[in-house]
């Protein structure tokens, strides 16, 4: 138990975030109530940037584990952490604008910033641990922080309703996840993912397949809560609608990405090595050739349900919720093929694209809905005449979400789509294509409002500087990554060896 022997340096980003969150909470506590708290956001931003600096510094290094794989630094975690940190940085810039003094709805402004940081800490743990317990603790840190964030508009009726729904459904999902984990632990007697992988493979040969399947399904269902896919998607519309817009953006981008991180980490590590030798059709990998069917069904159901229910929405945030259910379905598609060599590039590329386009879209939504005082889609009417650049930016985001060239969303989808065809999952590819076309209807519905409908007012829409910055970054990211996918793909492939996820140092 010599703690000095461990390489604590690899946890620097986590320590920085933890430290920043603590300092922010103390400053907030000892500061007079009537002071403007936006500088806390700037402090938090600095912390995030510092953490990002270290993450990039460690990128590409050999995997390092400390505390018996409770924490491990590998390329998989690094990639996800970069996404998280970029997202939170943009989110902070956006919230500095949102939490101004005129906003009477959020009384606890300091809390907002450090709760986002603790949530970020949870996400980072979820991305870089190889132990069920630590992963679960990370998941809970994220969940509890986001429950509070959703309800941070304390006097707002919808906010309360959504926070309550989120807590209750979240708690059930957590319970299901834990129950699933308990089966896996019960069979193998360890929480270390690598040990589990070894023992699970032999346990399968000894006939414990039923227990393993049970554990798999329970964990799949429980974890599907975080990424808001079928069967655990129904909370999303209510919660997205009730949460303050920056928090909605947080849930739909970052929390979802973290969910994917933990799903990929657990499923790929744990179930990877199970082989069925006894089947009539010769031996096959259980995860890649049998269980992936169920993930495919979830993906297809999410795409269908998300995209069709979005058609009938009139509230922009509910619409984005259904859209995000569908998007999560798309990101699940490479997971179905699981062991495709480009699996990591595909998933991460889409997440990067999704980050830019969704954060950008939410920045526009925030500006427009605050200005009009309503979240109805009609609040976008005549946006083009009020602020042409905002409208064009929103158009780009929507085109990207719909998957139309030359945006990042198109290439991301194209790349995912390719893997699906490559592994002869034609039906899934067809579902993906068909539902994408259905999604045109509602994405273009917003575009119609912006360009073709007269709004209640023709007054110029003032876009505050921080929001404008986020929108600009979103546009730049969406278009640049769409035109030159190399920018992201090369970084991923040259610096990060994803397969080191399976190597025990």
């Amino acid at each position: 138990m010599d703690i000095t022997a461990w390489n604590w340096e690899v946890m620097t980003p986590e320590f920085i975030i933890l430290g920043t969150a603590t300092i922010l909470s103390l400053i907030d506590l000892f500061m007079p109530d009537d002071r403007d708290r936006r500088f806390l956001g700037i402090l938090g931003l600095l912390g995030v940037i510092a953490a990002g600096f270290y993450v990039i510094k460690f990128a590409g290094a050999e995997p390092v584990q400390i505390m018996n794989d409770m924490f491990r630094l590998d390329s998989f975690g690094t990639a996800f952490k970069l996404i998280f940190l970029t997202g939170v940085a943009l989110l902070f810039i956006l919230s500095i604008q949102y939490l101004n003094r005129q906003n009477q709805e959020v009384q606890y402004r300091g809390e907002f910033f450090y709760l986002v940081l603790t949530a970020l800490l949870g996400m980072m743990i979820m991305a870089s641990s190889a132990d069920l317990i630590t992963l679960f603790v990370g998941l809970e840190v994220l969940s509890v922080s986001s429950y509070i964030l959703v309800g941070i508009r304390k006097k707002h009726l919808y906010s309360n309703e959504s926070a309550f729904k989120y807590v209750v459904s979240g708690a059930i999902a957590t319970a299901i996840t834990l129950y699933g984990m308990s089966f896996i632990y019960g069979i193998t007697g360890t929480t270390n993912l690598y040990d589990i992988a070894e023992r699970l493979a032999s346990a399968y040969q000894q006939g414990f397949s039923l227990m393993i399947y049970l554990g798999f399904f329970l964990m799949l269902v429980g974890l599907s809560f975080k990424i808001a896919v079928v069967p655990y998607h129904m909370w999303a519309p209510d919660v997205y609608q009730g949460a303050p817009t920056p928090v909605t953006a947080f849930l739909s981008v970052l929390s979802k990405a973290a969910g994917f991180a933990i799903i990929i980490r657990i499923f790929l590590s744990v179930f990877r090595s199970i082989v069925n030798y006894q089947s009539d059709a010769g031996s096959f990998y259980v995860l890649f050739q049998e269980l992936n069917l169920y993930i495919a069904i979830l993906a297809a159901a999410s795409m269908i349900i998300g995209n069709t229910l979005a058609l009938r929405q009139t509230n922009i945030k509910r619409l984005m919720a259904y859209s995000s259910i569908a998007q999560a379905g798309y990101i699940l598609v490479p997971l179905v093929t699981f062991w495709g060599i480009n699996f990591f590039s595909q998933t991460l590329f889409y997440l990067v694209a999704y980050l830019f386009m969704t954060l950008g879209a939410f920045a526009v939504i925030m500006v427009v809905t605050t200005d009009r005082g309503t979240e109805d889609i009609r609040s976008f009417a005549g946006l083009y005449h009020r602020s042409p650049f905002t409208a064009i930016a929103m158009t780009i985001f929507l085109l990207s979400l719909a998957g139309i060239p030359i945006t990042a969303g198109f290439f991301g989808k194209f790349y995912i789509f390719m893997s699906s065809v490559l592994y002869e999952n034609y039906w899934l590819a067809a579902v993906m294509m068909g539902t994408s076309i259905i999604s045109y209807i509602y994405y273009f519905g917003i575009i119609r409002q912006m360009y073709m409908r007269p709004g209640d007012t023709e007054a110029r829409l003032a876009v505050p500087l921080p929001a404008a910055f986020v929108i600009a970054v979103g546009v730049l990211g969406t278009v640049a990554v769409g035109l030159f996918p190399d920018l992201v793909l090369n970084y991923l492939n040259q610096n990060l060896q994803f397969t080191d996820m399976f190597a025990r140092p």
Binding site: M418, V421, A429, G434, I437, Y440, I441, Y451, F484, N493
Partner: protein, 506 residues
């Protein structure tokens, strides 16, 4: 310099977009002028391309390649390049696109609002149209295919007539489905052959010694898959062309789109479908095309007759033209179905010819609408007295459309049917019925507009203004030029067809 010519053509509308972006929006006159001038640059460069085109050379010419990006697929890294080039099949289409785009811009003078946005979108769309015909790989083909689609949606939905948004939505969804099927096919082709380059795919699919054709090879692409892919391409491009029963979006968009958009749509955009079908469908899967030729012929026949019969009973001049487009694109299908050199030449001639004639006709309808505010045939009439020039051109265009000798329509229909009579005499015989019907519905519609007693309200309709005469003159000039000297197009097409036809055994 000359090897970058195509890239220059492709990017030249960007110049106009840039200038427009810095032009004040209230200056309608300046904006329109810049918009029209901007389309002149690709037009002029296209003529340079026509001059530079080597009639005797084989394969793609004026090719310009550059690395774009690369993606890791399985164990290998696939390079996706920017590559443009033209051959005898695409060169006329590029020329057609830039001609119609310029004339459409001239016709856009009648646009009533938001000129700046209009012309910016118009120019983006032109890039898409030009790009589709120049692309040498499937990835670029698809991107430009979509790049033409999205601005078109806006152009219909903002500047169209009363029910414009619905029409635009219908346009978007139908074409979106088409693009979706197209993307599936492209990705499947890419996965199976490992290449996105059209020429490479073509050789890999046809070379009997390639692993994709050897019966025991694990990479074998089975007959069934090939037929499936061919059918997928047929449907995807069939929506674009469009043939019956996939044509309903076009009717709506004819009704509601602004006139320049119908010019572009019927002049160029639906030709993208036919072009894709010949280049990709027949080019990649010649054997399947031959096997299914009869069915393609039947589809064409149905389109011809259905379009012609319904055009007979339309009350609206625009709808007559819409159904006539369906009918005329049927002839393109018949030409393809013949699967011989004459038929193909007819199909390509018909694509160009119909592009010119349809654009002219719809332009005339626009000119009339501007003066009378109606396109309903029964309300019009007797325009020959008050506007003899307009009526004259309209009548000439109608004659070109029904295939009067000496005009481009005659050459194309003649060749298409000549080709088909050799291959499928029965289909061809029934198809000629459509030609006769064309004469009937065209003359019915046009004569009712121009002749007869002139009603009180049309007594002082103004005749064509100089700015309107230009497009009429140019389009008619091309129609007659091809009609009396078909070699101007035929020589260009010949070289490429000689490559294509042996592969289909015709």
């Amino acid at each position: 310099m000359i090897e970058k010519l195509l890239t220059l053509i492709l990017l030249s509308p960007l110049l106009g977009i840039l200038v427009l972006a810095f032009t004040p929006r209230y200056r309608a006159g300046t904006v329109k002028l810049i918009g029209i001038l901007a389309t002149l640059i690709p037009l002029l460069l296209s003529f340079v391309m026509y001059v530079q085109f080597d009639l005797n050379a084989e394969g793609m010419q004026l090719v310009h390649r550059a690395d774009w990006f690369q993606i890791p697929i399985q164990d290998s890294v696939v390079k996706i390049a920017y590559e443009v080039g033209v051959d005898g099949l695409s060169m006329p289409m590029v020329l057609l696109a830039s001609v119609i785009a310029t004339l459409g811009a001239v016709a856009s003078i009648a646009i009533q609002k938001r000129w700046k946005e209009y012309f910016i979108l118009y120019l983006i769309m032109e890039i898409g149209l030009l790009g589709v015909f120049m692309s040498l790989n499937l990835f670029m083909f698809f991107i430009f295919f979509e790049l033409a689609l999205i601005p078109m949606f806006f152009l219909i939905a903002i500047w169209g007539y009363l029910d414009r948004e619905k029409a635009a939505m219908k346009f978007l969804i139908y074409n979106g489905v088409g693009s979706g099927i197209l993307l599936i096919t492209f990705v499947a082709l890419f996965i199976k052959t490992g290449s996105l380059n059209m020429a490479e795919i073509m050789t890999r699919l046809s070379d009997p010694m390639s692993p994709f054709n050897l019966p025991d090879s694990p990479y074998l692409i089975s007959e069934g898959l090939r037929t499936g892919l061919f059918l997928a391409l047929l449907i995807a491009f069939g929506i674009k062309m469009p043939f019956v029963p996939l044509h309903t979006w076009m009717l709506k968009s004819y009704q509601e789109s602004p006139i320049p958009m119908i010019m572009i749509s019927s002049g160029v955009m639906i030709k993208m479908g036919a072009y894709g079908l010949i280049r990709l469908g027949v080019g990649f899967f010649p054997q399947q095309a031959v096997e299914l030729a009869q069915w393609i012929g039947v589809l064409g026949l149905v389109s011809i007759l259905y379009g012609a019969v319904l055009a007979l009973v339309q009350k609206d001049l625009k709808m007559v033209l819409a159904y006539s487009s369906v009918s005329h694109m049927g002839i393109v299908l018949l030409g393809i179905a013949s699967m011989n050199a004459t038929g193909f030449q007819g199909a390509i001639f018909q694509m160009v010819s119909h592009g010119l004639v349809a654009a002219l006709l719809i332009f005339m309808v626009g000119v009339i609408y501007e003066r009378t505010k109606t396109t309903v045939i029964s309300e019009l009439g007797g325009l020959a007295k008050s506007a003899p020039f307009i009526s004259g051109v309209l009548l000439t265009a109608a004659l070109a459309s029904l295939g009067l000798p000496g005009m481009s329509g005659f050459i194309s229909e003649f060749q298409a049917f000549l080709g088909l009579f050799r291959a499928e005499p029965v289909l061809a015989a029934i198809g000629t019925l459509g030609i006769i019907l064309t004469a009937v519905y065209m003359l019915r519609a046009v004569l009712a507009t121009t002749f007869g007693p002139t009603p009180e309200k049309w007594q002082d309709v103004v005749d064509a203004r100089p700015v309107e005469v230009i497009p009429m003159a140019v389009l008619l000039g091309f129609v007659i030029l091809i009609g009396i000297y078909p070699a101007v197009l035929g020589d260009v097409v010949q070289g490429t067809l000689q490559n294509l036809v042996p592969r289909i055994g015709g």
